[in-house]
């Protein structure tokens, strides 16, 4: 067997489309297809069972006998059964097809069926009408039927869903015993359910096959784990700490008001008479080429630019230069940038890095409260890094560091979150991770996001104010 999807675009009743899939599978491999809900992972599995209308590209090498178990196939079968019932042309009330007939639609190996029926503890149900079964029971029937058909390729879409612990373990074991016999494609969205024998993982997002990963590539595997974790769980953004709460701001005032800003170095103007107001609950995107003054502008807001004392700047209730400290300003801001990441060269553990966000410090110099530790742990869970709470920050991959710094910036639920090119220097997978996290934040909190970026492909849903700077 050598299945090949070559630039294949498949349409499913105009409801969904898989786009330009390039994918190859052979006998020696066992794949998991994974992705968020609605990403197209079931659709991709279904393509192997001949479902969907091919718009372009080619599909070749699919063996004759594909055993497929999926909710769609299950629903179809049940619907067909119910139809039989409706079709009362015979004027007799149909008893419905018994389970044993469904199990062996023709020439399957009856001995194997019996064996599996026993394994799944279905003996008492074989004479029952298929349509009378519970969802879980009918699922088992589908599984037995597919397994007993001795297919050349086994496609199982969420086979473990709804199974009790005993059956789940039994099925995992059984599948493991088939490893040498039949290549498998499993659709799964929980990493902890990935069986040991899986050799490859395909990650689908938005109808596109985004990543194909070798199970042995542990770095890619971990990243995928996090990405999936962020995409699929609907964890809430952890709450703020009531004890280190940020002072309330006057809701009538803007968060930031820059009035007629001028910045120049050695007679070279970087910013020329700029006015900018960020109101509460506005999300902004700031863009502009290198050297257009983006970072300079941000540092005027954060108080890191010395010229903030000689410009007309109003931030978070303070007119700058009137005896406020930069820590009074910074408490309202969460901040992430590549520069911060460079500076954050500490061996502090991950939990403490997140907690340092409560104090706007690089490194943690204060004893954290139990509550802060708990909140930090919730963030680590959200990022899928719970098992790494005490790992030194500088031992983390570049992409993980970025994620952690975003959590650090958000931990106090700042009124303003500044993300200065948060995807800069990240590979595709990590970019998607960061964007997924930011979208979660945009959707799940009252924080205004100021997003600095010049890559049109890294859009964030929910941002509708734009400021574009030009090179002087």
């Amino acid at each position: 067997m050598n299945i090949c999807l070559d630039n294949l675009t498949v349409n499913f009743d105009d409801r969904f489309q898989l786009d330009e899939i390039n994918w190859q599978l052979d006998d020696s491999q066992h794949w998991v297809i994974t992705g968020a809900n609605g990403s197209g992972k079931s659709a991709l599995a279904a393509v192997l069972a001949g479902i969907g209308e091919h718009i372009s590209g080619t599909l070749s090498g699919v063996p004759a006998k594909v055993g497929i178990v999926s909710f769609e196939a299950q629903a179809e079968l049940i619907e067909a059964e119910l139809k039989k019932d409706d079709a009362d042309i015979m004027d007799v009330i149909s008893a419905g097809t018994p389970v044993y007939e469904i199990l062996n639609p023709g020439n399957s190996n009856q001995q194997l069926i019996d064996e599996l029926v026993e394994k799944f503890s279905m003996q008492s149900l074989v004479n029952r009408a298929f349509r009378k079964l519970s969802t879980g029971e009918s699922r088992k029937v589908m599984l037995i039927r597919a397994l007993a058909s001795e297919p050349d390729l086994l496609v199982l879409d969420e086979p473990f869903d709804g199974l009790d612990a005993y059956t789940l373990e039994m099925l995992q074991e059984y599948l493991t015993s088939l490893v040498e016999t039949v290549p498998m494609v499993l659709v799964l969205n929980r990493f902890d359910e990935f069986p040991e024998f899986i050799t490859h993982i395909a990650y689908i997002d938005d109808g596109r096959l985004q990543h194909q990963i070798d199970r042995n590539d542990s770095k890619a595997y971990n990243e995928l784990y996090q990405l999936l974790h962020l995409k699929t769980t609907d964890l809430q953004v952890p709450a703020a700490d009531p004890e280190t709460a940020i002072p309330r701001l006057d809701p009538a005032q803007p968060l930031v008001h820059l009035n007629n800003i001028d910045i120049k170095y050695d007679d070279h103007k970087i910013i020329d008479s700029l006015n900018w107001t960020i109101e509460r609950n506005q999300h902004w995107q700031l863009s502009g080429p290198n050297g257009s003054g983006k970072t300079c502008l941000l540092s005027l807001i954060t108080g890191d630019h010395p010229q903030c004392y000689v410009n007309d700047i109003f931030v978070f209730g303070f007119q700058r230069g009137n005896g406020e400290s930069i820590w009074q300003i910074k408490q309202f801001i969460g901040y992430v940038s590549t520069a911060l990441q460079w500076e954050y060269k500490v061996g502090t553990g991950l939990r403490n890095v997140i907690i340092s966000g409560f104090y706007d410090s690089i490194g943690l110099y204060t004893k954290a409260t139990d509550r802060q530790k708990k909140i930090a742990d919730e963030w680590l869970a959200l990022l899928g890094m719970s098992n790494r709470a005490d790992v030194p920050f500088n031992k983390l991959s570049y992409g993980d560091q970025r994620l952690l710094l975003i959590a650090r910036a958000m931990v106090k639920h700042p009124p303003l979150l500044i993300l200065d090119e948060p995807c800069l220097g990240l590979d595709d997978m990590n970019r998607q991770l960061v964007l997924a996290l930011i979208e979660k934040i945009c959707a799940g909190s009252e924080t205004s996001v100021l997003y600095v970026n010049h890559h049109p492909e890294d859009q964030i849903k929910g941002i509708d104010n734009y400021l574009a700077l030009e090179k002087k």
Binding site: Y265, G303, D304, P306, Q307, C308, Y309, V310, G323, E324, S325, I326, W327, Q328, E343, K345, V346, G347, T348, N352, S356, Y359, D360, S361, I362, G363, L364, Y365, N394
Partner: protein, 491 residues
């Protein structure tokens, strides 16, 4: 010649002042910068300390401006540029000093007498004059107008660190003091504490000390272990390696970056940790060498401390100032001509561990210098906390400067006073160690021990380990480093 203030005090008072040093907990700073609120701070000089401290104070909500000597403003010197580009108001003494509630004198120590004499008549009645080093008050006996409050806030780090640590949300260890003869309103301590908070020092640990203890310990540390030992060690180790046929490029690199690398281990875990980085046989070797070095150098350390305490050191240095710095400039030129200074670091790879393995003698020198300086200072009545900061704590910071541009950079970064003391030490120490160096071979500098196996005698190893850990600088170091637990700077 001005009067040495310390020498005018009765013995009992001298001892009391020297022993003044108390570690302050962060909980002792509940009022933050309150005591400076509404006050106008004017900084004289915008150099290493001036710029860093001023920026920190401004970012802490204080009102800061700079006054520079007229020529610096007229010629738009670097100090003028630094202040203006950072958005500060800059003015002449006449323009700004009369408006100041607090004046920070952050000019070079050598200029203090002239600067203070120039600004004192312009200062407001009841204002405060602050220093970051007590030389002018203690060694030159500068008399300050009676209505003025005189304090000291001395960060125990170069200016760049003062700023960087603040930006990270932290600070650097800082020593504060009030000149008791000048505290007419009893507000000196409150002002010094607020100032330490404004620069972020309270987060890293504040030592409440005296002008005298600060000066006598600061001078001792900088001329012996910090700068003197590193300079002497560099020259001796380099010449030895070249003499023994080691490639000069390699030797140059091993020394230039070796100090930084081995003292990095010192910073994290004291002398014990630095020696723990060596193999067991190498550790015992380094220990033995350092014992020998300590024995040879102890009289020199004692002499430096004695000269500092009784004012001989400052007197001779001031004589050199008066003599157009003939000695200082001569020594500076001489250092520039040394073989080590003139040989660029070779393009060879040296791993972090190799700096230890091939630099056993350097490790021994650092250990000997740190321990001797600490022992001498505490024997002179200086409190352990203070002695720790002035010896072990600052060694890695000075080593970093050598890594950047060798001895030139070190001597350019440190104060003139430190530089003068460094050369003084170097000139006495080089001949002192001549005999000792004759017995040195490349096994302890340049090539590493040529042993087939790393076996050592258990009893001897236990002895060495116990001795290392039992040294008093290790006990105080453990406590003080604990206060800076997370101040982990990597790379």
């Amino acid at each position: 010649m001005p009067n040495n203030y310390f020498n005018t005090l009765p013995l009992r008072e001298q001892l009391a002042q020297l022993a003044k040093c108390r570690f302050m907990d962060i909980s002792e700073f509940p009022d933050g910068v309150e005591a400076l609120k509404g006050k106008k701070i004017v900084v004289i000089g915008c150099g290493a300390q001036g710029l860093a401290q001023g920026m920190n104070l401004r970012d802490s909500g204080c009102d800061v401006s700079y006054t520079l000597r007229a020529a610096a403003i007229a010629e738009k010197r670097q100090s003028w540029k630094s202040a203006t580009e950072n958005g500060f108001v800059v003015g002449t003494y006449e323009e700004l000093i009369p408006t100041a509630d607090v004046v920070l004198n952050l000019t070079p120590d050598k200029q203090h007498t002239a600067v203070v004499n120039a600004i004192m008549p312009l200062m407001k009645q009841g204002a405060c004059l602050s220093y970051s080093h007590g030389f002018n008050i203690v060694e030159e006996g500068m008399k300050i107008r009676e209505d003025l409050t005189v304090i000291m806030v001395a960060p125990k780090c170069p200016g760049s660190e003062v700023r960087n640590e603040y930006v990270r949300g932290f600070g650097v260890p800082t020593l504060i003091a009030v000149h008791e003869d000048n505290d007419p309103k009893g507000e000196g301590l409150a002002l010094a504490k607020a100032y330490a908070v404004g620069t972020g020092g309270h987060k890293a640990g504040v030592l409440m000390s005296s002008f005298i203890a600060e000066v006598k310990s600061d001078l001792m540390g900088e001329q012996t272990i910090l700068c003197g030992m590193l300079q002497t060690g560099s020259l001796l180790c380099f010449d030895k390696m070249v003499e023994e046929g080691i490639d000069p490029g390699y030797a140059s690199k091993l020394i230039q970056f070796g100090w930084e690398t081995v003292t990095e281990a010192l910073k994290y875990g004291g002398v014990t940790n630095m020696l723990d980085r060596l193999s067991n046989p190498a550790k015992i070797k380094a220990f033995d060498l350092s014992e020998e070095l300590k024995q040879i150098m102890r009289p020199l350390y004692n002499k430096h401390q004695d000269d500092i305490i009784d004012g001989t050191f400052s007197r001779t240095m001031m004589e050199d100032w008066a003599n157009d710095d003939v000695n200082l400039l001569g020594w500076r030129a001489e250092t520039a001509e040394t073989a080590f200074e003139k040989t660029p670091a070779g393009d060879v790879e040296i791993s972090e561990q190799e700096y230890f393995d091939h630099g056993i003698l350097m490790v021994a020198m650092v250990k000997a210098g740190v321990e001797l300086a600490f022992e001498t200072m505490t024997a002179a009545g200086i409190v352990a906390d203070s002695a720790y900061y002035e010896s072990l704590h600052e060694t890695p910071l000075i080593a970093n400067t050598i890594a950047r541009k060798k001895l030139y950079e070190m001597n350019a970064t440190i104060s003139d006073t430190a530089e003068y003391g460094c050369y003084l030490y170097n000139h006495a120490c080089l001949p002192l160690l001549a005999d000792f160096m004759k017995g040195i071979k490349t096994d302890v500098i340049g090539r590493g021990l040529a042993v087939d196996d790393n076996g050592v005698d258990n009893a001897r190893l236990i002895e060495v380990n116990t001795a290392l850990r039992a040294h008093p600088v290790e006990a105080i170091g453990t406590v003080l480093r604990g206060h800076m637990a997370d101040m982990k700077k990597i790379v």
